[in-house]
């Protein structure tokens, strides 16, 4: 299967381990991945409040115009926020007035977009297109005995509501099971981590992240995995603050689901990007490293 990858800005910084491990895992699964050439930031959900919704939409649409030049295969985002933004803009191209106006603006860069591509989230592609049987067939080190909290977060299943169930999602848990691990059920599986607010209102993020880690811990999880860069960063980097503020001693490693796949596929520590984890995963994952 061919896909056009939209890596997003976090792929080069805070979520470098996500893209790295996703590309390694894609190789094992025989996915042919090509990055959108000259892609730009999707604008996330924050840019529209500065430059207005329409300009922010056009900013995101530039990526779709570039992707269309590369062929008709699906555009796949790794980041939940990029997926939400690109997917929502893609839908707007069904409206002729919007399409004409967006293409008017894009023509300043000699670009245009028909609206015909599909925007997908990597988690959905893994589950729906690659399939659990294939995911399972590549496992060389089954993660037997590892309890995993699949933290889906907010935008992943809710932003477009085009895959999985937005109230009771099962795709992530399905992948966790296919790797031989045990998905645990916890109350805060779908709660928001407050995303980009981590920098502007850190005290809110700390108090929001606390019950997420707490519920995963109480459900017996050894690690948390997530498909979203902001969820990973907030749970991982802010855990030290949670421990200070709430007088707890959590040492809950937080990984991207592709890192867990890389581990089960026998890829080394570097390919799985484990050294980028702030809370050390060494103890929890020692049987598979």
């Amino acid at each position: 299967m061919k896909i056009t990858l939209y890596p997003g800005c976090a792929s080069e910084g805070t979520a470098i381990s996500y893209t790295q491990s996703a590309l390694e895992v894609a190789k094992k699964l025989g996915l042919e991945v090509k990055e959108i050439e000259d892609w730009n930031c999707c604008g996330s959900t924050v840019t529209s409040s500065v430059i207005g919704q329409f300009a922010a939409d056009v900013l995101a649409a530039r990526n779709l115009a570039l992707a269309e030049k590369m062929g008709e295969q699906d555009v796949v985002a790794t980041c939940s926020s990029c997926y939400a933004v690109l997917g929502n803009v893609n839908k707007k191209f069904a409206d002729d007035k919007f399409k004409a106006n967006a293409n008017d603006a894009l023509s300043k860069d000699n670009l245009s977009y028909s609206g015909k591509l599909k925007v997908r989230m990597l988690l959905d592609v893994m589950y729906s297109d690659v399939g659990l049987e294939t995911i399972k067939s590549k496992v060389v080190k089954p993660l037997t005995g590892l309890k995993v909290a699949g933290y889906v977060g907010c935008q992943t299943v809710r932003a477009l509501r085009e895959f999985d169930n937005c109230e009771n999602p099962t795709f992530l848990d399905g992948i966790i099971s296919a790797l031989g691990a045990e998905p645990v059920q916890f109350s805060h599986k779908l709660k928001c981590c407050t995303g980009a607010m981590a920098l502007s209102s850190p005290e809110i993020t700390i108090s929001t992240v606390y019950p997420i880690i707490k519920s995963a811990h109480e459900a017996g999880a050894d690690v948390i995995v997530t498909p979203c860069p902001l969820c990973q960063m907030n749970l991982d980097a802010y855990q030290v603050k949670v421990n200070k503020n709430f007088n707890t001693q959590y040492k809950m490693p937080v990984l991207f689901f592709t890192q867990l796949m890389a581990l089960a596929y026998g890829l080394d520590r570097k390919a799985a990007g484990l050294d980028y984890c702030i809370v050390s995963p060494n103890e929890a994952l020692k049987n598979w490293m």
């Binding site: 080069e12 930031c41 409040s49 300009a55 056009v58 007035k97 509501r161 607010m197 502007s200 980097a237």
Partner: protein
């Protein structure tokens, strides 16, 4: 109704022009769709910390209560988690309405840390086409003022240390788009079209 509330009501200013202005914004049409059922505040991730609930904000926009709406912290605390949008029986994308309200608040001279962050972010997009996560923190710090930044840096040093030690904050900007000038032309044209009402 209590005396205090009655007194407040007697001085409340209603501005129908404000309602029209919100309706004209890109996501303004959704404000008309709300049927005040109250699902959004019951699902909202940060409702407890908000001055006014998302439902109340819509009600006050329709009433033209400009000051109350624009001074509320509600739109700044929307995390775009989509929970309300997922459950709204009318399919209102409340977070998009909130983003429009942030834009409008800034137009009216109201500032908030979240907007400072958004502005730093958008500036990077204009400059390079992609954001530099390492530089965002620094530029945000400069935007909120040195005193506030030092306080934040001291308070959050353990978080920053974790990020730095694990090479999660790039010290140099990654490459941007090939021709950021062209991207700016695209965005400026889009802003023009929006201004003419062509969104």
């Amino acid at each position: 109704m209590s005396e205090v509330a009655a007194k407040d009501n007697s001085v409340r200013k209603y501005d129908p022009e404000f309602t029209k202005r919100v309706y004209q914004m890109e996501n303004g049409k959704w404000v008309k769709m709300c049927m005040q059922c109250g699902i959004c505040p019951t699902t909202c991730a940060l409702k407890e910390k908000m001055d006014l609930s998302p439902r109340r904000i819509i009600q006050l926009i329709r009433a033209g209560a400009k000051d109350e709406v624009l001074k509320a912290n509600t739109m700044w605390l929307c995390t775009s988690c989509y929970t309300c949008a997922c459950r709204c029986p009318r399919g209102v994308p409340m977070m998009d309405v909130m983003h429009d309200l942030r834009h409008l608040a800034v137009e009216n001279g109201i500032k908030h840390n979240s907007q400072a962050m958004a502005e730093v972010y958008a500036k990077d997009v204009f400059k390079r086409g992609r954001i530099w996560e390492g530089g965002l923190t620094l530029n945000y710090g400069l935007k909120i003022g040195l005193g506030n930044f030092v306080k934040m840096a001291l308070d959050m040093q353990d978080v920053g240390k974790g990020m730095m030690l694990h090479r999660r904050l790039p010290l140099l900007p990654p490459k941007g788009v090939k021709n950021p000038g062209k991207l700016r032309e695209v965005l400026n044209r889009a802003a023009e079209i929006a201004k003419e009402g062509g969104h």
